[in-house]
Symmetry: C2
């Protein structure tokens, strides 16, 4: 198996395209233009009207950026959906099943009642004192809303907050982190953000100066990372997860790729780890995490820990441990390791994607650099207050004894146990197919099966100028209405093909998905049998 082989063909092609396009222009001009020389008269306006922009003249970092989760297959799905609404009988399926994106509530998952009660009350605090409100909302939701309002200066939920987020909410989040980890957390280390994505961009913006700066990223990876590195003009230094050992992360591979990058003059600045994994679903063992921390410490790398799936664990023998907890348990403090942990309200059992809440906990950076991060956060003023409130709620949900505790727990457990069942059902179904091998989803929201495609299918894909995995996914969509994302959007060992499928469709849909997928796959393999 070509474990340490090159990044996917599509990435290489992209690379070649890019190189030939690279501008070598050198400019002596200044950033803020000096005033016109005194001799410059107010010259005549040119009379030719030119349309300002073409694809050839926009920022090519934008052109290079790719984001498969909402890419070509999803665009095709939207087209099919429109066709289905216009002509219901047109396709051999009656609905589109979106398994492309971790967006639980779009597939019918209901929000956690307590969280929504508090959000509604904070949106319209005028009703807090009204008697009807007692009948409509739980007592602890009302109490929590008051508590939150008292943490907001002037109770102004419509005001820009502190650039890092409302201090009282950061206190709550820090307390939640302390409770989770058993180690202190400082509210001044928390930066509340509109979901985790802007936080990742902020760190990439800080770390990347040029193509000479590299970021170690897992392959396969969540394409936010490759997109953000491309947009900021850096270099993605891939390290490969080992599919054969359940998407294992080996430090020998990290070292090898780091040295290789260094030998090419790349200044590797940070290591991205996604735990639980996306798209791969593995949960790292504690011991493995210690090795990773040690590696970052030794090599002077910032550890960017994507921990947004920390609540999504489906197997009894695995537990989530934050990298901060691990590093503190090794005796490492702020002086030893620079660590950023990303969290989001979009994932977990709550799945509140549309609220765009999240935070990063930034530790081990100097005060001067913290000031720079603060400044960048300030330029965007603050993240949305509902998202901030929700981030505080998920880190401090109802406790035993609270009126909502029982219903809250039932909702939470119902969602998580159902997700575990769905993960298992889909995994089993995939593994029963000819030429498909699928690792367990220990956590997160995805399965990333490997598909061993017949040579004839690969040729057919080449004939229509597409990658074999995209070819497979497009055929699947056209035949069944099931939307999955080709593995090439995440990166994969060249010559191997995968797709990412979420475990999010509601349980009553799973049997239909399994049977449609099975039937399609059989026909596909028949059609292209060598």
């Amino acid at each position: 198996m070509q474990k340490y082989a090159r990044v996917t063909a599509s990435l290489i092609t992209d690379l070649l395209r890019r190189r030939s396009r690279q501008s070598s222009r050198l400019l002596s001009s200044t950033h803020i233009l000096d005033h016109p020389s005194s001799s410059s008269s107010s010259s005549l306006m040119s009379s030719s009207s030119t349309h300002p922009l073409s694809v050839a003249t926009i920022n090519d970092k934008v052109l290079k950026c790719e984001y498969a989760v909402r890419g070509e297959i999803v665009t095709l799905a939207q087209k099919l959906q429109e066709e289905l609404s216009a002509k219901p009988g047109l396709h051999p399926f009656d609905e589109i099943l979106y398994c492309n994106i971790g967006n639980p509530q779009s597939l019918g998952q209901q929000p956690i009642t307590f969280f929504r009660e508090v959000l509604a009350l904070c949106d319209h605090p005028a009703i807090l004192d009204r008697s009807e409100t007692q009948g409509l909302f739980s007592t602890d939701a009302i109490a929590r809303a008051w508590q939150i309002l008292d943490q907001i200066p002037g109770r102004a939920t419509g005001a820009y907050s502190h650039s890092q987020g409302i201090k009282g909410l950061r206190d709550t989040i820090a307390a939640g982190i302390e409770e989770r980890d058993g180690y202190p957390a400082d509210p001044n280390d928390i930066f509340l953000t509109d979901g985790a994505s802007p936080a990742v961009h902020m760190m990439m913006q800080l770390l990347i100066r040029s193509e000479g700066d590299g970021i170690l990223c897992p392959i396969p990876q969540y394409p936010l990372y490759s997109a953000s590195i491309a947009l900021h003009g850096g270099t993605l230094v891939p390290y490969y997860l080992d599919e054969a050992t359940g998407w294992g992360l080996e430090t020998s591979e990290l070292k090898k790729q780091l040295e290789a990058a260094k030998s090419k003059g790349i200044n590797v600045r940070a290591l991205v780890v996604i735990n639980p994994g996306n798209p791969t679903g593995q949960v790292l063992a504690e011991d493995n995490q210690r090795q990773i921390v040690e590696f970052c410490k030794q090599e002077g790398l910032v550890l960017l820990a994507d921990e947004v799936y920390q609540e999504n664990i489906y197997v009894p023998d695995k537990k989530f441990h934050s990298f901060k907890k691990i590093s503190r348990s090794m005796g490492y403090g702020n002086e030893d390791i620079a660590l950023v942990s990303f969290q989001s309200v979009s994932k977990g059992y709550y799945g509140e994607c549309g609220k765009r809440g999240g935070y990063m906990e930034v530790t081990g950076f100097s005060p001067e650099i913290r000031e720079q991060i603060y400044k960048v956060a300030s330029v965007n003023l603050c993240s949305n207050i509902s998202g901030q409130i929700l981030a505080s709620l998920v880190m401090n949900p109802p406790k035993v004894g609270d009126e909502s505790f029982e219903s809250y727990s039932a909702e939470k457990d119902g969602i998580l146990s159902s997700l575990a069942r769905r993960a298992k059902a889909l995994e089993d179904a995939l593994n029963s197919l000819e030429g498909v091998k699928c690792n367990k989803a220990e956590g997160a929201m995805y399965l990333f099966p490997r598909i061993y495609l017949p040579a004839k299918a690969i040729k057919a894909a080449e004939a229509v100028n597409t990658s074999p995995d995209t070819f497979y996914c497009r055929r699947l969509l056209n035949a069944t209405g099931i939307v999955v994302v080709p593995g090439s959007g995440f990166g994969q060992v060249p010559g191997t093909w995968h797709f990412r499928c979420t475990i999010l469709p509601q349980e009553d849909k799973i049997p239909a998905i399994v049977s449609r997928l099975t039937e399609f796959h059989k026909q596909f393999m028949e059609e292209f049998r060598d």
Copy 2:
């Protein structure tokens, strides 16, 4: 008067600092790193532990970026506020009066009831069917919430939406634009964003390839623009507003600066116009807008129209006209001019800064470029749904006959007429001071008075290594608790000094502000009289 003189001293100093720092490193490396050569063994881990980051090694575009609205004076204000809480008698004032930022609800402005009712109901739709809800919420708010929920696929307010925002809400916004302008608007041209700032960043990211790309910006300007251009590595090409003619925008100045930039090899790509003006408060005349449109058309510039203060007009002889309306009224369509209009829920009479809602209307771009904008929007998935809903509400508020119409109108008119009175009171107070001249705030939320500082004050500022306007603002804050932003944060004609003061403190605070400011100013002028 040095109208066409150089950008401010502080910007020039910054420029020099920057130049000496510019790295000239050339890299032949690739963006996505190639695999290690087959001979590379898994080399030994280096044993030295190095802390990864220092200010000298982060992205210097981040270092260069400045954002005065939350800069040094605000940091000092926060410190004073903490001291006041700890020791109430410590300073000669008992509260900090934040006049630094357009954040109305932080100063006691109440949200519009109808908007908050709808938001609360959309956050917790489970109560829509309950009888108590009829008593708590207005009938039209309930109806509107149902209508909005029906526009959201699966009524899932917790799901990621379409990357441009929920289609039904974009329909509503487009209809609102049509009603405002009398010209068609296409929902597919709308990109909903978390406030206007991310939209501005998105366009700068698209337009700026290198320092060779310039963006024409007014001076004085809202520092989001200079910050965004710095972060994306472009060149700010300044054009000066004419203080003597009420911050007039002359196309002769635009042409002059454009030619000067061209002669230095700068590729000027876009023109930023802020109307109503920030920090300057002027409202452009229709005729002037037509000249600007013609200029952009002729020169092939993208017109970036910051129209976030479109509802904030305080003088009877001025009206807001969108640049889209103006260009369409001149017979110019998509083929003639590329135009982006930014709108936000943070401003207007609603002032919902914390909700982070807004949109840009993008017209006159090719489908290929639109696709690139869509892709960048997709990387961040979508803007927050509450902000999206609110953006649809401000573009489609209650109408005559709706239950809420009367109370809504009373709230709206109350806020706008009060803002007009506050603007006038502060303007008059400022103009009554020795050595202060202040143009009228025709619109927006700010006054930008010029202060003629005595030479002795300027020397005193130099002695403590700060700009004279910052010196003045710091003294004002320390003496009175009033927070304003030095003009150098916005840019000003060199040798002139200003500050930006919002008109947002509640009316009962205005007399105290006026008397404290007047007293301080007299003492300051006495102290530094030449």
